[in-house]
């Protein structure tokens, strides 16, 4: 079947799942709906991170910063300045995009571990700044409460189900847009940059510009996720530990890693899987003898996932095992004397 047709079928299955979930989990199980709604928010952010890490080959250890910037921007505008909730969307995405631009400009010139460190530093500074509450606008450690839910026309998104559909509709959209990007000139340029920046540049690719563009884009995705989080979070409440903690940056990183860097569907499944993890562990924990704290296990699982996957590269091994790894014939180099 053609590439196009397969793509359409994948989208259709995706859409079917989205529609089905709230219908399946009704009543007392609607808790799962809100959990999966959160998964959708993380998926949006993770997809952006995947474009940055999996395709362009850069790294960000502080992406929670952009997420929180989007969330706080909208929260502040809609609570303190009483903007309409929907009006917070554009500022949230714009401000996080601008932040990514400003941060990306000096940072993307750096190599590997300097880039990792710089993004880490950005995440930490953002966290400290939010906590320090300059000018009293962020609410510091206590955060911001009573964030209004979103409303379009007369309809308010204040139920688990409506929020779920809103979030996943956005996730679906982001997904399609991202696939389009990968399949285009920019997408190819990103993959080229990942493999060899020098080769890409002598072919006419403006390496820095491309890196910056995808960095800003991933920042905007994160800002969108943050916006959705602010207005759909369980308690309509925002605090720095929920949205800007280093742990969240690592969680996002893990979602990209576990899905296989560079795989969009993998990232999606990673986001969903890791969002379900706490719940899954809790269920598991109830089967184990008392006293075992599952949030620690959750943390340990993250650590192990990151370490093991990066060490063992199961995807490569799996490919080899299934023979999907075609070896290439190499002619012995010719030794020529003048």
């Amino acid at each position: 079947m053609t590439h196009k047709r397969r793509e359409l079928i994948q989208y259709a299955v995706f859409a079917a799942f989205i529609i089905a979930v709230p219908l399946v989990f009704q009543g007392r199980q609607s808790y799962y709906v809100s959990m999966l709604a959160l998964a959708g928010i993380y998926a949006i952010v993770a997809i952006g991170l995947n474009l940055l890490m999996g395709y362009a080959g850069q790294i960000s250890l502080g992406h929670a910063a952009f997420f929180s910037i989007g969330a706080y921007t909208s929260a502040i505008l809609t609570t303190r300045y009483e903007w309409q909730p929907l009006a917070g969307l554009v500022p949230a995405v714009a401000v996080s995009g601008c932040a990514a631009f400003v941060i990306g400009l000096p940072t993307l010139k750096l190599k590997e571990h300097y880039l990792a460190m710089a993004t880490l530093g950005v995440g930490l500074i953002t966290y400290s700044l939010i906590k320090a509450d300059p000018g009293g606008i962020t609410g510091g450690v206590t955060g911001i409460v009573n964030i209004p839910p979103l409303a379009i026309g007369g309809f308010t998104f204040d139920s688990d189900r409506s929020q779920f559909y809103l979030i996943w509709a956005m996730a679906f959209l982001i997904f399609v847009l991202s696939f389009n990007i990968i399949d285009s000139r920019i997408g190819r340029a990103l993959m080229a940059i990942h493999k060899s920046e020098v080769s890409a540049s002598v072919l006419g690719v403006n390496v820095f510009s491309c890196k910056l563009q995808v960095f800003v884009l991933s920042g905007m995705y994160a800002g969108l996720g943050g916006f959705l989080y602010a207005h759909c979070s369980p308690m309509y409440y925002l605090n720095p530990d929920d949205v800007c903690h280093f742990g969240l940056s690592i969680k996002l990183l893990t979602m990209v890693v576990i899905g296989g860097m560079g795989s969009m569907w993998g990232t999606l499944l990673g986001a969903v899987g890791l969002s379900i993890l706490p719940e899954a562990l809790r269920v598991l924990g109830s089967l184990l003898p008392a006293g075992v704290n599952t949030s620690d296990i959750e943390m340990a699982v993250y650590g192990l996932i990151l370490a093991v996957i990066m060490i063992a590269s199961p995807r490569q091994r799996l490919k080899k095992l299934l023979g999907l790894d075609k070896p290439r014939r190499v002619e012995p180099p010719k030794n020529v004397e003048a």
Partner: protein, 253 residues
């Protein structure tokens, strides 16, 4: 006016002078070979020309315009492309996609149009695909277009590498040891290919050790030794030049 004018090009790495006050010219539509013993500074020269390495001093005029100090992508967009000694295809991408990257500089669709799949983008993508296939056909590897680039045999990877550079319709192409690792048959084909490129109006600069190949196709040869130009001229005169012979065989005591 010469297609390429190099004046006083100079590059040192710490204590080593890799390129020493180098000056030469390449005429339009000429095949100019750069030869010399290992370590003579040939690849460094290519790196300086293509903007990959910053030069200490000197002037480079391409088509009358000064290009020293410009970033590589800018130089590529102005019509000077190059290949590398070690072929580094983007091996997880298909052959066709690899070549399409070569078209990047001449195209313009950005993130926004890409995300939304605008008609402008679709038109451009069609044009890019067409150009890329043409380049592959010219190099004789069009049948591998949809194979994964990393799976090709070495000789074909080389060809894809060249196709990739040609996809942007350049004016000048720098080939860095294109015959390395090729067998006799492939080398002959390479020679025909380079002549074909000349026929299409390109200017070709080539670094090579394969003297037969050079003598067969080059219009002009520049000989480097330890970063300096020791001879320059048509193949016949270079063959007989005592300085060249000395450089390759060492001093006779």
């Amino acid at each position: 006016m010469a297609h390429l004018q190099v004046q006083g090009l100079h590059k040192t790495f710490d204590a080593v002078t890799a390129v020493n006050d180098l000056s030469f010219e390449v005429q339009r539509n000429e095949i100019c070979a750069i030869i010399g013993p290992n370590g003579a500074g040939k690849t460094t020269t290519f790196n300086l020309l293509s903007g990959v390495l910053p030069a200490d001093r000197g002037k480079i005029f391409f088509d009358g315009n000064e290009i020293l100090g410009l970033p590589p992508h800018d130089i590529a967009r102005r019509g000077m492309v190059r290949t590398f000694q070690t072929v580094s295809l983007f091996d997880s991408m298909t052959v066709l996609d690899n070549v399409k990257v070569g078209c990047h500089g001449k195209a313009g669709a950005g993130l926004f149009s890409a995300a939304l799949r605008t008609p402008g983008l679709r038109r451009e993508e069609k044009a890019i695909t067409k150009k890329a296939m043409e380049a592959l056909k010219l190099l004789g590897v069009a049948d591998r277009a949809y194979d994964q680039a990393g799976s090709l045999p070495f000789g074909q990877q080389r060809l894809v590498d060249i196709a990739r550079a040609l996809a942007s319709d350049p004016e000048m192409i720098l080939l860095d040891e294109p015959a390395a690792g090729l067998n006799a048959h492939e080398t002959t084909e390479l020679a025909s290919l380079i002549l074909a490129l000349k026929n299409r109006g390109l200017t070709v600069m080539i670094i090579e050790h394969d003297m037969e190949l050079i003598m067969e196709i080059a219009d002009c040869i520049v000989v480097l030794d330890q970063g300096m130009k020791i001879a320059c001229g048509p193949p016949e005169s270079i063959q007989k030049d005592p300085r060249v012979i000395a450089a390759y065989l060492g001093d006779e005591d």
